[in-house]
Amino acid sequence: AQTVTQSQPEMSVQEAETVTLSCTYDTSESDYYLFWYKQPPSRQMILVIRQEAYKQQNATENRFSVNFQKAAKSFSLKISDSQLGDAAMYFCAYKRTGANSKLTFGKGITLSVRP
């Protein structure tokens, strides 16, 4: 079974600084997707960034980028120039490719941003 591990329950960053959130996963599949979701207090899950396992290039979306290490099964999220609005819970998630595959989430990490 696939598992997603986020070992840091909380992190804090100063506004305008950079922070990295860690995630590891376990799978025997070779083709899959990895995601980072943001969940603010409003509870709505918002997709931040996704990575296809077959792509060697790390995904980037504006201030958000990932460091995808397939052999190490590591998928970290870097937030640059942190803003107050980045404060939220962040979840790492895994989904193998193909029909009817399940989205598996980690336990999440609470990110606070200090002004």
């Binding site: 509870r43 899950m45 979840f91 998630a93």
Partner: protein, 114 residues
């Protein structure tokens, strides 16, 4: 494009009562998911529909939970009778089809069972 709609946003009930949640997915999305998110944890899939058929309900406590998706559009999740441990946020999500990688989430319903 309208997002996934859910109601109610909040619900407080006594244990052993029943409760129902409603979800309207994004128009044209064939796949609909219900997740349970207990405080401090990531969402856990309860049930997945493809159109109006169930694809995966392996983690649905079928003695008390039921769900339906009539006509392959709206869906209802019911709990009867509720237990204290059912207190959680219930998230609905939809995707174009089951192989599409991105799921779109609704705002969730926070259930408190007293």
């Amino acid at each position: 494009e309208a997002g996934v709609a859910q109601s109610p946003r909040y619900k407080i009930i006594e244990k052993r009562q029943s409760v129902a949640f409603w979800c309207n997915p994004i128009s044209g999305h064939a796949t609909l998911y219900w997740y349970q998110q207990i405080l401090g944890q990531g969402p856990k899939l309860l049930i997945q529909f493809q159109n109006n058929g169930v694809v995966d309900d392996s983690q649905l406590p079928k003695d008390r939970f039921s769900a339906e998706r009539l006509k392959g559009v709206d869906s209802t999740l019911k709990i009867q009778p509720a237990k204290l441990e059912d207190s959680a946020v219930y998230l609905c999500a939809s995707s174009r089809d089951s192989s599409f990688e991105q799921q779109f989430f609704g705002p969730g319903t926070r259930l408190t069972v007293l």
